[in-house]
């Protein structure tokens, strides 16, 4: 292995170690906050696979989250299964759904793909609201985790952490394999990608399935953690907004972009709600607007370009304004 790659791996390993030890020195509130950040990092990173790397900006990825959550709820509550099985089934189910819905929907491009995925998510929400097995709008309960309160906090934190590591690892492996090249080629020029011998339908579908898989796993943990699920929150478009904003804010098409974005957005959100109890979402909206106008390429670009001066922002605006 190249020296640089080895060094990068070691740095990541170190950071991972520090993060793993983090719950042991924090109170439960902070552990929960960290767990939430990890959850968003997972779904934003999963979105990045289909949105950032393949260039197919899905506006309905929350559907995988909700499917993962509901598969877990139904299997555990109605079929009495163990969480481990439900977790795997949730991921598998979400991935399978991605393949099925991907077949017709991945043939669309750009805006149409975005809206189609949005429609799928909303349709699924409406469907779940009407099904008996999911208890519709009344909500479905899940069995409680049989651990101490402290243990529960630890459990969910490490589950999310493990899932995030898996997501990023798989993404990394893809990027260095042929599949990764094919996805980027599709993003840059799908017709040229076809001509060069890439089976774009296959590549896109795999990307979408992976995106669904990891999002579904996150949804599964979320369901268990919440212990109570309703279709509205599970399938809300607000989750989609957050995951996309995080991915873009951190850096689309970059491995750690979504993670940094999730971290940044959640910290900003939390700080705002501490200072402005009532209007924090309002300021959140303002932050999103400003962030997009000034750093459309994301934080990672800002960091790697090393231009911390005003000129960076002015350049961006000049490039993008009418």
């Amino acid at each position: 292995m190249e020296k640089k790659t080895l060094r990068n791996f070691l740095i990541c390993g170190l950071i991972l170690l520090i993060v793993s030890l983090f719950p042991l020195v924090s109170n439960n509130f902070i552990i929960r906050f960290g767990t939430d950040i990890l959850m968003f990092a997972i779904i934003a990173s999963a979105w990045n696979i289909i949105g950032g790397y393949t260039g197919y900006a899905s506006f309905g990825n929350v559907v995988f989250f909700g499917i993962g959550a509901y598969i877990t709820a139904v299997l555990m509550e109605k079929a009495g299964m163990h969480f481990g099985i439900a977790y795997l089934a949730a991921g598998g189910g979400a991935a399978l759904f991605a393949v099925l819905i991907g077949l017709p929907v991945l043939r669309l491009r750009g805006h149409y793909f975005a809206i189609a995925t949005l429609g799928v998510a909303e349709a699924m929400k409406a469907l779940v609201q009407n099904l008996e097995i999911t208890e519709g709008n009344s909500g479905i309960y899940l069995p409680m985790l049989d651990l101490s309160i402290q243990g529960q906090y630890y459990f969910f934190f490490y589950m999310m952490l493990g899932t995030l590591v898996m997501t990023l690892l798989v993404t990394y492996l893809i990027l260095n394999a042929k599949l990764g090249y094919s996805l980027i080629a599709i993003r840059e020029d799908e017709d040229a990608a076809n001509s060069v011998g890439i089976n774009t339908t296959l590549s896109k579908t795999i990307a979408f399935a992976l995106s669904g898989l990891f999002t579904g796993l996150a949804g599964s943990i979320y369901a268990y953690q919440q212990a109570f699920l309703k279709p509205g929150p599970a399938f809300t478009v607000h989750t989609t907004v957050k995951m996309i904003v995080m991915a873009v804010f951190g850096g689309m098409g970059k491995l750690f972009g979504p993670l940094i974005g999730a971290f940044g957005i959640e910290i900003i959100s939390e700080t705002l709600s501490n200072y402005f109890l009532v209007a924090h979402t309002l300021f959140f909206g303002t932050v999103v607007i400003l962030a997009i106008v000034f750093t459309p390429k994301g934080l990672i670009d800002l960091i790697t370009q090393r231009k911390f001066g005003i000129s960076y922002f002015v350049e961006n605006i000049r490039e993008h304004r009418i």
């Binding site: 260095n176 394999a177 042929k178 090249y181 094919s182 980027i184 080629a185 993003r187 840059e188 020029d189 017709d191 040229a192 990608a193 076809n194 001509s195 060069v196 011998g197 890439i198 089976n199 774009t200 098409g253």
Partner: protein, 247 residues
């Protein structure tokens, strides 16, 4: 032995006949030129061969097997690669990565891992003379280099047949001569080439045979000098490239 054969190839678009009843063949190792005025149907014919369009009538055979109607990526993997008239590099990737994609997914791709494909890409870039720009972003190249990259991508696919669509457009005389040398080198390495061109200087220096399309129909087919002096061909071009044709 004909490596590529087209029989009665026709392509219609909602009533307009872009390519009408065209027969052609290429022998292994030949360089066949395809010329004709703008709008004659040359790129459409190449698109039919490359699988972008299925022919409305007629068939295309590659090494004896029928390929008409197959998808572009399938044809690419069978051993036919093509360049685009308006070059289409992958802007978000480096020159090396661009060529590597060809190596990964072309006819030679099945047996290559990502690393091997990248190595093959470096070889190809060396071959076309882009080795010194390997790590530049593809969008930072000048016109001549972009044309070479386009050719490199096609070559990296390890094809047996290459379709070059106006690779000389926009090049100055010395760049044209270099491109002609490169094409000859490519033929010498064992490939068969179909080349669409407007630049007569290149046609004269590189083709074994040429055939001419006009309004979608073949109006001449044969040795270079013969065809270029053919009355019908001159008439088709009259006013446009008449001077070039006769100098």
């Amino acid at each position: 032995m004909a490596i590529l054969e087209g029989k009665n190839v026709t392509k219609r678009f909602a009533g307009l006949v872009a390519v009408g009843d065209v027969d052609f063949y290429l022998k292994q190792g030949e360089i066949l030129g395809l010329i004709g005025p703008n709008g004659a149907g040359k790129t459409t014919l190449v698109n039919v061969i490359a699988g972008v369009y299925a022919p409305s009538d007629g068939d295309v055979y590659f090494k004896g097997k029928q390929i008409s109607g197959k998808k572009p990526y399938q044809i690419g993997r069978m051993g036919i690669s093509r360049t685009f008239q308006v070059v289409r590099p992958f802007p978000g990737m480096t020159v090396k990565e661009n060529a590597a994609v060809g190596a990964m997914y072309g006819a030679g791709g099945k047996n290559k891992s990502a690393k091997e494909a990248i190595r093959r890409a470096e070889e190809i870039l060396e071959f076309v003379g882009l080795a010194d720009q390997m790590n530049k972003g593809a969008d930072q190249l000048n016109v001549a280099s972009r044309k070479r990259l386009e050719m490199a991508k096609a070559m990296a696919m390890d094809p047996e047949l290459v379709l070059f669509d106006e690779v000389m457009a926009g090049l100055n005389f010395s760049e044209i001569d270099q491109a002609v040398e490169l094409i000859k080198k490519i033929r010498e390495s064992g490939m068969t080439i179909l080349i669409i061109e407007h630049v007569m200087r290149a046609i004269k220096n590189v083709c074994d045979r040429i055939f001419v399309l006009h309004h979608g129909e073949k109006i001449a087919d044969g040795a270079v000098e013969e065809v270029l002096n053919d009355e019908n061909v001159i008439k088709a071009y009259l006013g446009k490239r008449y001077k070039e044709l006769t100098h």
